[in-house]
């Protein structure tokens, strides 16, 4: 049976993990390769590396990092953050990334999705969408949730999937960082709307939140960062809890 995926996310700045990591067993908590290897060993199903480096010049360190991760890790991984051209994607895929996530650049120029799907295949094009609830709708936000587009997420997601996005990474800005649970209702809405897999992100605080997003939320995968970095939830414990709830997981 196809299993639900647990996806730790590593925020990368200038080639180092940021947001803090609290693993006692790591020699260097800022080394993304060491952290990634640890998660792979613990049973993570996939990894996401999100580059938040500000300058173009320093972004070159990302390609080098992706090469190091590829050399060390035997599970799939996605790289995102500031990806805006075929050349960016070519460089990351040929360094060994399995998938690339696009966000603002795709919203500003939707043809980017067609170009990437046409050149590299839909299976490696992940559309990341940051949303906030406003009245009865979900609105797309850009620039890490700082800029409202005023556009409905449902319309944008439908368009992006039609253009060739092969997977969705949905982050609810209302839930992100709150540790109060995922946006279950929104995740279910999108998961039923589109045929491609959906990764839920934002709001994970405990194991029960994952149970909710995989059952009521109909998510295919769930992403979290801080709770894994600080060991508040460990992957083996999380997976055994999911298995107790008859949610298929890779143990």
């Amino acid at each position: 049976m196809l299993t639900k995926r647990i996806v730790p996310c590593l925020d990368i700045k200038d080639g180092r993990t940021v947001k803090g990591v609290n693993f006692v067993a790591l020699k260097d908590a800022g080394d993304p390769v060491e952290l990634a290897a640890r998660y792979a060993e613990q049973g993570a199903d996939e990894l996401v590396f999100l580059d938040i480096t500000a300058t173009h010049e320093k972004r070159k360190t990302l390609v080098h990092l992706v090469e190091q991760v590829s050399a060390a890790i035997n599970i799939p991984f996605t790289v995102g953050g500031g990806v805006s051209s075929i050349d960016d994607v070519q460089a990351l895929l040929s360094s060994g990334a399995d998938k690339i996530s696009v966000n603002s650049a795709a919203f500003k120029r939707p043809e980017l999705i067609d170009e990437l799907a046409g050149n590299f295949g839909s299976q490696c094009v992940v559309l990341a969408v940051d949303v906030k609830r406003e009245q009865d709708d979900w609105i797309v936000y850009l620039n890490g949730g700082r800029l409202s587009t005023g556009k409905s997420a449902i319309a944008w997601i439908q368009e992006a999937v039609d253009r060739g996005a092969g997977e969705l990474l949905l982050t609810s800005m209302d839930h992100d960082g709150t540790k109060s649970g995922f946006a279950v209702e929104f995740t279910a809405l999108i998961s039923e709307l589109v045929e491609v897999p959906v990764i839920a992100s934002g709001g994970a605080g405990n194991e029960t939140h994952f149970v909710e997003v995989f059952t009521s939320g109909k998510a295919d995968a769930a992403l979290a960062a801080g709770i894994f970095h600080f060991g508040e939830v460990t992957i083996p414990q999380l997976k055994s809890k999911l298995a107790q709830h008859q949610i298929p997981v890779r143990l």
Binding site: P76, G96, D98, G121, G166
Partner: protein, 199 residues
Amino acid sequence: MKIAIVQYNAGNTRSVQYALQRFGITPEITADPDRLRAADKVIFPGVGEASSAMKFLRDHQLDLVIKELKQPVLGICLGMQLMCCHSEEGNVEGLGIFSNSVKRFPSQENSGFKVPHMGWNSLSSCQGPLFKGLPEAPFVYYVHSFYAEIGTSTVATTDYIVPFSAALHKDNFYALQFHPEKSGVDGELIMRNFLELTI
């Protein structure tokens, strides 16, 4: 040991190359028929679209070269599908090494399941040398929208919407629909088992 990876327009060679490097092997990535014939083992990976990939192989006579290889050959993902007789993707004839047909998974509307089949799923009915030493029903990583039907060359199956061929084997030809290079330690063991094959 000389390992060659077939270089063509749908070759997702990097992840296979990195996996081999983790075993201390530096593969040669080549489209040169003589280099392919001279290798101890040949890996035929692939991510892309079947009909354009087949056109490229024919245009470069790689279709004949691959079919006539005598050493162990491992097709992965699209590579496996191209080794079958026919694919619904672009309605194209394949290399015909395996008699299986390649079909598209029915849409979510008809099946209630997402397509592509993306993520970790388990193997059943594993037979043969590639699966030596693996746990029962190991999990492997899949990303695909088309699948090879079950036939006489099927040596492992996975169930997603329908049961399909997870692995094929005939003579010196082996093929995997999943990505062993991304399937954790079990995937690495399958790759090592292939590398240890002797004909």
